[in-house]
Symmetry: C2
Subunit: 736 residues, 2 copies
């Protein structure tokens, strides 16, 4: 096997793990060139490390706006001692005004305390317009651009710096580890990413308050103190007590808080807080603990009174609202709502001006709904809306990303609000990410595909015109890059298409037999294969291909972007259908003459660690070597919000929990299995893997184990490189 590898690599360079992994010392040097740009109203500004340039949206011509040196000078930094070290993170907050905003870190105050300061500079006049120093220790910063007010959290209490007089007022004073204000709740499920929500006019602040006093701490150990110590880490396990969330509305001018009168918060999830454009109502999607009944409720933002339920959705398995309301800029009586009620994530136009009785009725996905205002589907079909980018006010249309053209793609569309007619705005291939200018006139479209390394286009949403700003060269030219391909097989149901990626060994010779490693995730909310550069191949796959392995990655049923039925087939028995599909992948691999069926390995992290361990234990004669990272071993140790959605509670689904409890299969271990965890993993807590080790010891089997002390659920930076050296070595030791 050595000779062909040498031949193939002749004259070509090899990758190191540092070249291929984020965190590697040379990783950035081997990435495709990027273009970073910001919208300044409808004007486009390219930000480089040392300067900012306006890109003419008509012809792509660049003109320098200012340099980093100038910016530092205007900020008042001493010569040769810049306060800002790159222009990448500036913003242009005022369309029409030549203002650039930047956060300056580490500038010491009179008393020596380092600060973070938000500064706005007029880059035409070269002078400071505004500055606001963040309080020391402040986190969860949330600025209301309209008023300049700033919400922040310090030591679990929420504060507001008023834009009017610069005074800091306390929203709460009883914050603690048990009582948390202004932060993301419900463990960031249901689309929750933050805990403060300014009204559109910046005059009121809705915020989360989370009482987690009833939630036990998972004992995490810090070994870096002189004598090891524990730190608190609230963790609401499946079937156990969960935190109680309430929502307040704070008025910085009166310093009063009104609480939304949502009733008993026990065993309920309050999600997707949205303001009405006039700032008088707050909408919230309310979900029962069972997660099979969602209500869209409306509250009076002044009194906190519940005004009613606008919409309800149920499903025998689960409903999963993840998106807030998006009001039409030109008609505040209408908003867009996202739902999978027709089986795929789509947009529905709700009309508050047309109330209706809303009898319960069946939905296409097998659930029910009640519409108490008029609801019209805006999009539909066997594909999913992946992103709402914003509106083009002039043409009264919406800009979205969807996978309508192909399950593996994301393409950009303009959707007419009046009739839902869609216009494709890109070439129709690849995976596109875009940002929309102020008025919706322009899209900055960054994309890649299996044949496009990285391209950035400026797209006129009205004219459909496309101006190319960057067409990156392949940074891997001259390297021995393996063949990366994509295909589909049928799922274990015999009907559904599943997509895979295959990375062939460097110097591939179809007459030889190669050791093969399946990389797997397999859980909801994610996928591994898409039609972007290299089909989304991970750097480690390239590295392994270079070492003579064939890599195979299959997105089984249960993963995302394929609709609700595809995902929720796993309900109440996570792992089962997923493994059946992966075994279809194995069947396919075994049909290939160049796959060595006696040397099949598997690797995955998190849900993929669960899959890896499960595959090793369920098919001990198929998989010779596995490396499972941060695995779920027993869903009763996972958190309630994510876990109960798919598994219900251990009390309600004892068979499902037993069937997926990998400790009960510990005695099946035959091959070599290494479990690796972050010793301080707050997501898949160490109890999973430690209890599995105990079970294996009791069953007389011999897994291997490794920990990264101080690391959490994923290894970052140089630890990531160390980790992948470790994973690679394990396959080298036992699969080769």
């Amino acid at each position: 096997m050595f000779l062909p590898l040498l031949l193939a690599a002749q004259g070509k360079k090899s990758f190191s793990l540092d070249d291929l992994l984020p965190g590697g010392r040379t990783f950035s040097q081997l990435q495709p060139q990027s273009l970073y740009a910001e919208w300044w109203g409808d004007r486009c500004v390219e930000t480089r490390i040392d300067s900012c340039w306006e890109i003419d949206v008509d012809n792509g011509k660049r003109e320098v706006l200012f340099t980093l040196e100038q910016l530092n000078q205007w900020l008042g930094a001493p010569a040769g001692k810049p306060w800002v070290r790159s222009c990448y993170n500036v913003s242009f907050p005022k369309p029409g005004l030549p203002y650039v905003a930047v956060t300056v870190s580490g500038r010491p105050q009179a008393d020596g305390t380092p600060t973070r300061t938000y500064v706005v500079v007029d880059f035409r006049k070269g002078e400071k317009v505004y500055e606001q120093t963040y309080p020391a220790g402040a986190g969860a910063l949330d600025r209301a651009e309209a008023t300049g007010s700033l919400a922040f959290v310090k030591a679990q209490n929420l504060y507001v710096v008023r834009g009017t007089d610069g005074k800091t007022v306390a929203v709460s004073t009883d914050g603690s580890d048990d009582l948390v204000y202004g932060q993301a709740v419900h463990r960031n499920e249901f689309g929750i990413t933050k805990g403060t929500f300014w009204s559109p006019d910046g005059r009121k602040l809705a915020f989360y308050r989370m009482d987690q006093s009833m939630v036990p701490d998972y004992p995490q150990v810090d070994i870096t103190t002189r004598i090891a110590t524990t730190y608190s880490c609230k963790y609401p396990m499946a079937g156990e007590k969960t935190h109680n969330v309430t929502v307040g509305v704070f008025d910085p001018s009166t310093e009063q808080t009104v609480w939304l009168q949502a009733g008993d918060p026990a065993d309920r999830y309050f999600t997707n807080i949205s303001w009405s454009p006039d700032g008088r109502k707050i909408y919230m999607i309310e979900l029962n603990r069972d997660q099979n009944h969602a209500e869209l409720a409306c509250y009076d933002a002044v009194t906190g009174k519940k005004e009613g339920i606008l919409y309800e959705e149920t499903h025998p398995k689960y409903v999963e609202p993840q998106h807030g309301l998006v009001f039409l800029p030109w008609d505040h009586s209408k908003f867009l709502y996202q739902s999978q009620r027709d089986g795929y994530n789509h947009l529905y136009l709700f009309d508050l001006a047309v109330p209706q009785d809303g009898d319960e009725r069946q939905t296409a996905n097998g659930g029910t709904c009640r519409e108490r205002v008029k609801v019209s589907p805006l999009t539909s079909g066997k594909w999913v809306v992946k992103e709402v980018l914003g509106f083009d006010r002039e043409s009264k249309s919406l800009l979205i990303g969807s996978n309508e053209r192909h399950p593996l793609q994301t393409n950009l569309y303009k959707v007419a609000l009046k009739d839902g007619r869609r216009t494709l705005l890109d070439e129709g291939d690849g995976v596109h990410y875009a940002s929309l200018s102020e008025s919706g006139k322009y899209l900055l479209d960054t994309y890649s595909s299996p044949t496009v390394v990285r391209r950035v286009n400026l797209v006129s949403t009205r004219k459909g015109r496309c101006l190319n700003l960057l067409d990156a060269e392949d940074p891997w030219k001259g390297y021995a890059v393996p063949e990366i391909s994509c295909g589909s097989i049928k799922a274990a149901d015999g009907v559904t298409d599943l997509y895979y990626r295959m990375v062939k060994p460097v110097g591939f010779d179809a007459t030889k037999k190669y050791p093969t490693v399946i990389y797997v995730y397999g859980g909801p909310h994610a996928h591994n294969v898409e039609a972007s550069r290299n089909y989304l191949a991970r750097g480690w796959e390239i590295y392994m291909a270079q070492k003579g392995y064939l890599l195979f990655i299959l997105d089984n049923r249960g993963s995302d972007n394929r609709g609700l039925d595809f995902e929720n087939v796993t309900f109440r028995h996570l792992g089962e259908e997923e493994m059946k599909d992966q075994m279809e992948g194995v069947k396919f691999l075994k049909s290939l003459p160049y796959v060595d069926a006696g040397r099949i390995g598997v690797h995955g992290w998190s849900f993929g660690g669960f899959m890896t361990t499960n595959l090793m234990l369920t098919y001990p004669d198929v998989f010779k070597v596995g490396v499972a990272g941060g695995p779920v071993i027993d869903w009763q140790y996972y958190e309630a919000m994510y876990g109960e959605r798919y598994m219900d509670t251990p009390q309600a689904n004892p068979d499902g929990y037993e069937g997926s409890n990998l400790r009960l299969k510990a005695g099946n271990l035959k091959g070599k299995l290494q479990i690796i965890i972050g010793y301080n993993d707050p997501v898949c807590v160490p109890q999973h893997s430690l209890s599995f080790m105990r079970a294996c010891i009791d069953a007389g089997t011999q897994p291997d184990f490794f920990v990264y002390p101080g690391d959490e659920h994923n290894m970052m930076g140089t630890d990531r490189v160390h980790l992948h050296e470790r994973i690679t070595q394990y396959f080298e030791d036992y699969l080769k």
Copy 2:
């Protein structure tokens, strides 16, 4: 290599790990036959599982005393439901009276609570004489035979059940995890094994009280609860705050406690509590935190007043008193004291009747002493007294075990008190353990040697006559047993003899080259080589020899039984001299044609884990594979009492701590090193190994790691078998 192994094993059986390891399912079947006996005054009783037999001390003839069935009947157990399941643990508390004492477990009380009851039965009359039920949850039981009073600890408080009236009285009421009564203190160093000390007449109870409120908890995690929890585990690390110990004297009749007026207990160790024969004085050896100054103090047991210091000893390195005073039965003004002041552990006769000024003077070991009473050496020489067995009152002599005949042996001697003349009481070989009859007339001597599997003799201490009771057959007959030999090499100092054991591969062929594994401990208070059966070879060595490895075990300087200089050469830089000696072992191994110098591995546990890791990191080109169990990585994480004796504090000896901090050598790792720990190790806390993993990750090296959740410093039972499978496999994977 395979063929010779087969030939050698032809017709011979192979061992499994279960055969060879304590905890293995078949271990006991392959152990030499034993004889269990108890002294009943000067009469000898053999206890078997189903019966007790008197052995005639003159001719060895056996006569049954009673059967297990009878015993259960007399106890009142229902037919077919025995309360006592073997006669092994009975005792004969009253010389001259036909009483047998037994502790009955699990006999339910009226309310269903299971109990433990101490019952004395007259086995001639077949009736109960006495019974005392232990309170539920009682631990640290300590019975005063003279009065029948019982001291016990429950929930950290100390109680006494009075023998007089059976009433339970509380000695303390404020016991807690911070304040502990009646238990061993100072982490069982300084010879401390318990926390209660009855006066000879059973009327007063001296006890330890330990305030450890100032000692931090090491956070141990229990993963067996629904959600993992921590439990408290006070751990006084080197250089950190240690607990304060005081000594009380409780009088059960008055229920009053008097405290010994020993002064400020901070940074002091109170050890070797001894009563005067008349119960009026208490003696205690008091040691400073630096452990280089010991004082033998005398207290009035009635008032608690300190009466004075009888003796002082200092040493530039450390003094280590480990033995209480032993008064002569026939002269209560004299007692025996053990000391290493002449360089080896010897006996000194102190005469209270002859007080003296006691000026400070130099001792032979390089320290000083002050004798305030007359002190006469009883034994001396370049060998150590290992055990004081008791007295023969008639001949006014003492029975001891010592290694006078050979450093690797323990032999039994009678020592005349008047002139110290010693008489050997055994054959002069092997390692002897003995128990002495009431009057000192008979010794029950159990021993083994490289040529004696196990022999039990009844020795008449006066006549020197020896009656053989058991000569066990070799239980390994028919098995392929490797050749086990012993020899000596010079230490790195070029002068000192070091003893090694070598276990040659089964089917050894001197023309071949074998992978070689060094098993090492290397720390103080222990040795691995002695002149007992198989030179003390561990079962795992036999197993490895069977797999084709050569095993080599060398007791380096720093280990026990060889005198103070041999031990304390390691002072303030643990690991250094020890490794130099082990490298002399490697030099010797490399001189042997049948040792493969390219395949040398090393394995050890605890101090041996420290040695293993240190050797792997200090000599990365010598050792290819290592397995280190429960290792010390950084002595600042070890406890103060043991650690500071050898290393002083981190504050006082920063260079020594840095030089022995294995984290600082993490980048040197070249071979394969697996670290294995009990996840709940309260001795070498997980912080050692976890911080080492972190250091290796940061240094870019790749150790392996495994944990036994729920296990402490050593794996027991089936976990021990699992562990050794694991260790073996690691050498099989990487050294073979």
